[in-house]
Symmetry: C2
Subunit: 365 residues, 2 copies
Amino acid sequence: MQDKAALKKIEGLGEGIAYEIKEGKNPRFVTAARTRSNILFDKKEGYLRLGSAKEERNFINVAQSKKFMQTVAIAAKCHKFLQENLHTTIRGLFYQLKFSLGEDVDESIFSEQAESNPLIEDLEVSLGVKREELNLNANRKGVLAGNLKVIDTFGNERQEIDASKMGRSGWAIPSDVDNDIEFVDVKAKYVIVVEKDAIWQRLNEDKFWKKENCILISPQGQATRGTRRLIRKLADKGLPVYVFTDSDAWGWYIYWTIKTGSINLAYIGEDVATPEARFLGVTMADLDKYEFLKKLTIKASDVDLKRAQEMLQYEWIKKHKEWVVELERMIKSKIKLEQDALQGPKLTFVGDYIREKIRKEDWLP
Amino acid sequence: MQDKAALKKIEGLGEGIAYEIKEGKNPRFVTAARTRSNILFDKKEGYLRLGSAKEERNFINVAQSKKFMQTVAIAAKCHKFLQENLHTTIRGLFYQLKFSLGEDVDESIFSEQAESNPLIEDLEVSLGVKREELNLNANRKGVLAGNLKVIDTFGNERQEIDASKMGRSGWAIPSDVDNDIEFVDVKAKYVIVVEKDAIWQRLNEDKFWKKENCILISPQGQATRGTRRLIRKLADKGLPVYVFTDSDAWGWYIYWTIKTGSINLAYIGEDVATPEARFLGVTMADLDKYEFLKKLTIKASDVDLKRAQEMLQYEWIKKHKEWVVELERMIKSKIKLEQDALQGPKLTFVGDYIREKIRKEDWLP
C-alpha cells in the first residue's frame, strides 16, 4: 500500500514537470535544504530535524541542469523498481543509471556513486518518502529476540516469524521495517538495546528476554536506519526503551544517535529518533555502586577523551547535569568501562545489572 | 556431548600437571607452534594447516612460568564455563581473568586482552578442541536462506528453524554451528556464497534459492569462523560450493579464505577450509561474455593492483593458469568489476548470471 503512495508521488512529480514544460515554463524541483545551517535540534521534540530552508533546482540553469536531469533519472528508475515490485540498493541504482538513463538517452551521466547518493536524499525529502519506500534497501544490521511476532509479506508470501523461537540466532532486523511488514502480538514490557552482539548473545542464552518479558535488541554497533526505525516503532507502541552500551565515546554515540537522531538522517529525524530512550549504563557512576568494577576499568583512549569534551558543548547534553558529571568524571579519571566487564565476577551478572538498574530507576536521561 | 569431551580434555590436562607436580617433575604444557614457519600449505588437501613443530612451556622456567600460569588459568575458566553450561566471548573471559584467577589468587595477571588471546589458541591446539567447544563464542556474521532445517538446542529448549521461512531476513548464522545444533532436511542441490548482503537480499527477493533449490549464503563480507565452518559442513554433505564475489582484492581474499583457509586459522584449517569451492565470478573474463559490463567497470584501486601482484606469487594460485590470466588482466587494464554491476540492465539479471555460469560450468578453480 505504501509502495503505491510512493508511486503516485513520483508520478505527481513527473506530471508537474511535464506541465511546466507544456506551459513553456522552466521546470523546477524543490526540496528541503540539507545543509548544516538548516539542521537544527528541535528542543520541544528532542531530536535533530531539518529547518524550513528550501532548495530549488531549475532545468534551464547552467549550474543546475545536470543535477536536475540526474534527479529526474533517479525518480524514473525508482518508479520502475516500484512497478516491477523489485528492490535494490543505492549501489544497484547507481549501476542502473550508469548503464542507461532510459530508452532514449544512452549516455552515462553518472560516473561516481557520490553523485547519485545526495540526489536520492533530495528525492526522499522532496517527495516525503523514505528510500525504503522507493524500493531502495539500506544496509542492515541488528538482531532481536522477544515475545513479538512479525508478519513478513515477502514476494507475495506471508511468513510469520516468531522472535521468541529463533534459538541462538535471533531475528535479523531487516533494512525496511515499514513496508509489507507487521509487528503483531508485541507482548513485552520494555525494550532493551544492547550495544554489543556478544552481550546480546550472553543475555539471550540466559533467556533474559523471556524471564523479564522484554524485547532484546542489539544494533551490533552503531544502529542502522532499519534498527533505529524499529526502536521508534516499538516506542510508539508504548514500550519504554533502555539503551545499554560501553561507557566510552562509541557507546555514547550509539545512545545519542538512537535518542536524538543524527545529522546525516536529520531529514527523517522524526521517523528514526527515540527521544524517550534512557541510558541504563554502563556509567562511571557504576564504579561507586559496584565495587568490583574498580578492578575492571581500562584506559580511556584519546578519542574517548576528545569526544567527552565535544559532547559537553552540545546543548542537548549540557542541559542534563547527570551527563555533565558523567563526562567530566571520565575526562578527569582518564578511565573507561565496558559492558563486558560486568561478566567479571560471574557471567550471568549482566542480566542482574539490567534488572537492578531498571528496578531502581537508575538511568541517565 | 561435545561439551563433555572438552570438559574431559581440560580435566586430563589438569590431572597431567598435577601428576607431574606430585612426581616432583617440572609441569609442562605442549602445543603446536603457530609461528609462520610452521604454517604450511598442504598441497594434497588444498588448505593451510600447521606443521609438526611443537612448543613446550614449562612452569619452572623464568621466561615461561607466567605464560604457563596464564594458560592454566584460562583452562580453569573454560572448565567452569562448561560446568555452568554458559557461554561468553574471549573478551568476557579476559574480564573474568582480570577479576580473579580463582579463589586463592586474587591478583590480576592479565592486564590486556592481547595477552589472553594467543593463549586461548594454544589451548585449542593443545587440547584439539575449537574455542566454540570451550564455550567461547567468536564474532558472528553471515546469513542463509534455503531448503534446510536447523534444530537449535539452546538452553535446553529444542527449536526448529526453517531457513525457507525466514522472509526477507534469512537465518543469522551463529558463532557455533557444531555444538547442540543439527542440520536436517538439507534438500538443496548446491551452495552459493555471495559476498555482499545487498546481493543476497536481491537474490532472496527473487526467491532464487527456491527456484534453483540451492542454499543461499552471504558471509556479509569476510567470512567468520562460524560461516566458514558451516560452508565446510555443507560441503561434507556432498553439496558443491560456488563463491560469487566482486572481481577485486577483497573479493578474491574472501574466496581464497573460504577455499584454502587463512594463516590465522591454519590451526583449525581442516575444519574451516573448503578446497572444493569454485569461483563463479565476477571475473575479468566476463567482460568478453557480457557486452554490457564493458560500460560498468570501475577503476581498480592501488590495493587491488598490489594484491593481484602478491597473489601471483602464491603457489596455490599460480598453479592455476586461469587465475594467472585473470589477475594479469586486471593489472594490465587497471579496471575492476563489482557483482552489483550485474544489476545494470535489469535487477533480476544477477540470478540469471549465476544460473548460466553453473549450467556452462564456467568457473575458476
